[in-house]
């Protein structure tokens, strides 16, 4: 079967290695349409089935949600265009290679490992999301909002099956998964919209004029569920802006946008924000509100049954496919990142181990229930790398300091970059613990702190070298 062909894996690995250590040549640049498609597909994923409902659970009001998403997503698009795309087009190399030039091989390796760990947890949460739909025919007891540990043997077995399938496919068939994900993307957004529209009459919306009063009282009524904190306009704005912080401000999307003919193609990210982080979040919130309404505010939290009750088998399939197509490439990337430790390790063996760890993590429902916090933490942890690149590209030359210092000085480990990363995160932790600045907000001061730290640390390191 082609799905399990080793040849396809080797081909894919070759493709991944394309221009990994050189700027993308002029002839390989891509037009804006491919970026619109990529962003629209990548940001309509399994996570959307969890994030939209969690906003409802956190008691956001309708106006705070809609305005917060509008402004936060707008800021995210600006970050992609003015930060990531501008630097990507200027350098035309991957994030990993740029980090290696600045921080040295060992620094880039450290980044890879941290990234791999975070990828495992993200993939784990998506395996759990798929499992909630797979468990429907077996009448599986679903996890609840306040669950941390597995709640039944059935849950553990279902997660193990979904995790095993995801791991095996990630080991041997990335090409087919990527192709299937592209195929599913337009269908998925249709299902999101269709499901929300179809259930509106059950919430009491039978004409457009009914929508707003129902939205304010029955969908996003401003009252958090038991055990959940209260979300405001600012939570939504900052979450929408920073949920992909690793990709834009953190510069991970350099690997994608280095293929853009012009930096303005960074605005193509708006396709993903509108479809995935606006329409899909609103739609999944509506579905969850109906579930709460029908279940008298049950704390059960399972995207599978929610979608199945709304639009039947198509809804359940959407949850399975959305979770799986997100988990699979994430697991594959995590495997590649770990493999960077030792190129002699077989990719499939590394992916197998990473898959096992991910599957065990997926058994803990806390991974899904705390997805908002995890996504914010994920962006925060990787953000300093982007701040280092920004300062290195724009500030260091103007201050008479050398950019890409590790490459120029032949260093395997640039202390300035490493100290910036560690100190920034420690300061962010201190801001969180001492001043109560929530994890959703701390990334903003954190970025400025990282930029200043890197400039100061570079001055010290480079002065010492001279």
């Amino acid at each position: 079967m082609a799905l399990f062909s080793r040849k396809s894996l080797v081909t894919k690995l070759d493709a991944v290695n394309e221009f990994e250590r050189e700027p993308v040549p002029e002839g390989k640049l891509k037009g804006w349409k491919s970026f619109v498609g990529t962003y629209a597909g990548e940001h309509t994923a399994g996570t959307e089935f969890v994030l939209g409902p969690l906003f409802v659970a956190h008691g956001v009001t309708a106006s705070d949600l809609l305005w917060g998403l509008l402004i936060g997503n707008f800021l995210a698009v600006l970050s992609w265009a003015y930060l990531t795309a501008k630097i990507s087009v200027k350098k035309r190399v991957t994030l990993y290679y740029q980090l290696e030039k600045i921080g040295g091989k060992n620094f880039a390796l450290g980044y890879n490992l941290v990234n791999a760990g975070l990828f495992c947890f993200l993939a784990g949460s998506m395996i759990a999301v798929s499992a909630t739909a797979v468990g429907i025919p077996f009448d599986l007891p679903m996890p609840t909002l306040n669950d941390i540990y597995p709640n039944s043997v059935g849950w553990v077995l279902t997660v193990m099956v979904v995790g095993a399938i995801t791991t095996v496919v990630a080991m041997f068939g990335f090409d087919q998964v990527a192709r299937f994900a592209n195929l599913a993307a337009p269908w998925m957004i249709m299902i999101f919209i269709a499901a929300a529209v179809a259930v509106l009459p059950e919430l009491g919306v039978t004409s457009l004029s009914d929508f707003w009063p129902v939205a304010e009282t029955k969908i996003w009524n401003g009252v958090p569920l038991e055990g959940q904190s209260k979300f405001t306009f600012w939570h939504i704005t900052f979450f929408a802006w920073f949920c992909n912080m690793a990709m834009h401000i953190g510069m991970a999307d350099m690997s994608l946008l280095r293929y853009a003919k012009k930096w303005q193609y960074g605005f193509a990210s708006s396709a993903g924000m509108i479809l995935g982080h606006y329409i899909a979040w609103v739609a999944s919130g509506i579905l969850y509100a109906l579930f709460l309404h029908q279940s008298a505010n049950s704390t059960e939290f399972a995207p599978g049954p929610v979608a199945y009750n709304a639009v039947g088998i198509a809804g359940a399939l959407c949850v399975i496919i959305a979770g799986w197509t997100t988990a699979n490439p994430t697991l594959y990337r995590a495997g590649l990142a770990v493999q960077a430790i030792n190129a002699k390790w077989k990719t499939w063996k590394v992916t197998l181990v990473v898959g096992l760890v991910t599957t065990v993590a997926a058994m803990f429902p806390a991974l899904v229930m705390k997805l908002l916090e995890f996504v914010a933490l994920y962006g925060l942890i990787l953000m300093p790398a982007g701040a280092v690149i920004f300062a290195d590209v724009y500030l260091l030359p103007k201050l008479g300091l050398q950019e890409e210092y590790a490459e120029r000085a032949g260093l395997r480990f640039n202390t300035a970059a490493a100290a910036t990363w560690v100190l920034t995160l420690l300061i962010c932790l201190w801001l969180n613990l001492s001043f109560g600045i929530e994890i959703f907000f701390v990334g903003l001061p954190g970025w400025f702190i990282a930029v200043v730290l890197y400039v100061v640390a570079s001055r010290l390191v480079q002065k010492r070298a001279v």
Partner: protein, 55 residues
Amino acid sequence: MKSSALKFVSFLFLAMTIIPSFLVFAQILNMNQNKTLMFIGTVGWFVTAPFWMKK
């Protein structure tokens, strides 16, 4: 030509996943009819689209 016809059929199936929901909203269809049509649209899309969607 053949590919264009297939594309057209695929998009008809894709439309079948969303249009019935608006008809439910307009109280022309009921939920069960909607679920059936969405399922047919889903199967139709995944069966026909791979033949013309290369990437």
